[in-house]
Amino acid sequence: MEVANLRKRFGDLEALRGISFHVGAGEIYGLLGPNGAGKSTAINILCGLVPPDAGSARLNGLDVVRQPLEARRTLGVVPQDVAVYQELSARDNLAFFGRLYGLRGAALRARVDEILQRVSLADRDREPVGQYSGGMLRRLNIAAGVLHRPRAVLFDEPTVGLDPQTRLNILELVRAIARDGAAVVYTTHYLDEAERLCDRIGIIDHGAILAEGTLAELRRAAGEREIAALRGTFRADAVPVALGALPDLQLIKVTESELLVSLASAERQLSALLPLAAQLGEVREVAVRQPSLENLFIKLTGRDLRE
């Protein structure tokens, strides 16, 4: 999967500002970004639903704009919301999606059997899926997305709202799909999932990829620094100058209600930071975050991933 300098504008909103990334066969690429960062636009372009203004997106060498049908034949998509026909059985659902991808007859039946086994739904394959639990529906949702053995798969936050055990099952399914050789793009709000699952991670915000690399590379980029998050009431315009007086401290973000700073050692520097912050307003809450991917994310975007 290759995305090169992809740009897209909706009216005044520049949703994508020339993003580029590539995902190799068997690789899991985590695309992390808060709501409105541009993830959905990128996915919609890869799916062929939205044409880009500039740049290119290729799946297995096929341009999604010039060869949309051929490209989509090699793509699997697992949407965030469960999208299956509730009144049909799992088998009928999968048979329909399989036919859309050109599977027929015995080959279709064999593949449906195989995928039902894989997602542990073979014993309830003829029930209307409206009777399924949330976890079963999620597994069927994944099965419908990868039934046709796609060489590239987009997972759009497939574990939102699931219990820990079901999440683990889903993550294992994703790993298995990658092991089969698919290039996987995985978007999530859960940083721990990205840390556990993804081979490489791209951090996207305001339509641009701010950082990209393996988990180790990103951790190195984040450094060993900690982040102090102060909440309260602040005179935002006075903060940058005031903090400039403190050594080895970087201001990440300041608003009238929040102050984010990067520190070499919170234990050592907070004693100087807090009195100064108190002079700039009122501090009601202080939280210190240890070095992590989340810190890097906040450092790069100035906001929490769940915002």
Binding site: R72, P79, D81, L88, L100, G102
Partner: protein
């Protein structure tokens, strides 16, 4: 096209798995038709209207006043009017309020005396205010009857004078006087009979061979007039229910999932349209067969009927596709579709025959797809009209259908691209 077929077959399979709503919606036109059939078909088949119930309150209680109900409820009028006697005004009013009678005829005190005195003798007519047609019919009959009785009285002046003379003398009439008075009335009757024997103007009623009463067509033909409008009304609501399923798919992300499969947008749109079109055509055929089996509707010119049905199913498909392409939510789509269907049905003559409309409204109704289809269906079912004579109506249906489908496709493509 193969993908469109897969999508259409898939939706039809889903429909077959959950037919409850469709069966329920099919019951609407069938129930309406059944009620109309039960209410009017026997009358239409026999050629007789159900008798109109009329109350008579005789306040005069004389020989002449007692003749009024006998005149109204006998002879040829007996087939159309069913008389009942009212005891007093309050009980008569209660009967009218309960809808148990269409009118009240009051013969006031002094009625006979006014006749004998050659003064104006009045009969009061009180129509049931909750009814329109039946009281008018009774009123017209009463006016005709009054004209005849006035003619009789004009011919019977001599015997009336004789009765008055005997009454003025305060004695009983002699046998000769009774005989003379009777002869006077007999001669008056004879003179009226001469008028009745004038044969220059006659009404020729055509009936089926061997039938002593009734029109040239039976209950099935009567039904042919009302069934098409009700079926199209019902079918438009069924089309709304079918299209709502597509809208729900869209809201559940299923349409998106299908759209990212290796299928062109045209194929995805065509799949949805094909599903609606096939389902509606099949349902129209099923409704027609029910009409044939249950309501004795004679399905003349099957090919012509199919051409009209296919056109109407295509129109309903286009209408609903356009609505769901425009709609932002299911509730919005249902509100818009419901309003459009009701307006089309009212203007197109589903409930009141277009022939009863003012000219301008009728012209509008006949250019609507359901109005044109209804006229074409009635022409075929009643008169067996061939397709060649219905090109205008069929053309109207197809122009509407193609226009709506084109608009729906354009809007849907824009929506998908947005």
């Amino acid at each position: 096209m193969r993908t469109a077929g897969i999508i259409a077959a898939h939706h039809l399979k889903r429909l077959a798995r959950s037919p409850g709503l469709i069966l329920l919606l099919m019951a609407i036109p069938l129930t309406l038709a059944g009620i109309e059939y039960a209410a009017f078909a026997p009358s239409a088949a026999s050629g007789k209207l159900p008798p109109i119930k009329v109350l008579v309150l005789d306040e005069d209680r004389t020989f002449a006043s007692s003749a009024v109900p006998r005149l109204v409820g006998s002879g040829p009028l007996a087939d159309y009017i069913e008389l009942d006697t009212a005891a007093d005004v309050p009980s008569a009013r209660r009967s009218l309020q309960r809808g148990q009678a269409s009118a009240l005829i009051v013969v006031p005190k002094g009625f006979q005396q006014a006749l004998l005195d050659r003064k104006t003798a009045e009969i009061r007519f009180v129509p049931n205010p909750a009814q329109t047609i039946s009281p008018e019919i009774v009123h017209s009959m009463l006016q005709m009857l009054t004209a005849i009785v006035n003619g009789l009285l004009a011919q019977a002046q001599a015997p009336l004078d004789a009765i008055n003379a005997v009454a003025a003398a305060g004695r009983a009439p002699t046998e000769d006087e009774v005989a003379e008075i009777s002869r006077g009335f007999f001669r008056a009757g004879e003179r009226l009979q001469i008028l009745n024997q004038m044969q220059e103007l006659t009404v020729d009623v055509k009936r089926p061979a061997g039938a002593s009463q009734g029109f040239e067509w039976g209950a099935g033909t009567f039904f042919a007039y009302i069934f098409p409008g009700l079926v199209m009304f019902g079918l438009m609501f069924i089309s709304q229910a079918l299209a709502t399923r597509l809208l729900r798919d869209r809201e559940a992300g299923l349409q998106r999932r299908v759209a990212i499969a290796p299928a062109s947008r045209a194929a995805v749109l065509a799949g949805g349209a094909l599903y609606l079109f096939v389902a509606l055509t099949v349902l129209l055929i099923v409704l027609a067969l029910i009409g044939n089996l249950v309501f004795r509707l004679e399905l003349k010119q099957p090919a012509t009927l199919l051409a009209i049905a296919v056109g109407f199913a295509f129109f309903a498909t286009g209408l609903q596709l356009m609505v769901i392409a425009m709609a932002r939510s299911e509730a919005g789509a249902q509100a818009v579709a419901g309003a459009v269907i009701m307006i089309l049905s009212l203007l197109g003559g589903a409930f009141v025959p277009l022939e009863s409309y003012p000219a301008a409204l009728r012209a509008i109704g006949e250019t609507l797809p359901n109005g044109a289809a209804q006229k074409a269906f009635v022409d075929v079912l009643v008169r067996g009209t061939a397709l060649g004579e219905l090109l205008r109506q069929v053309g109207i249906i197809w122009v509407w259908a193609l226009a709506l489908v084109a608009i729906a496709v354009t809007m849907e493509r824009r929506r998908l691209a947005a």
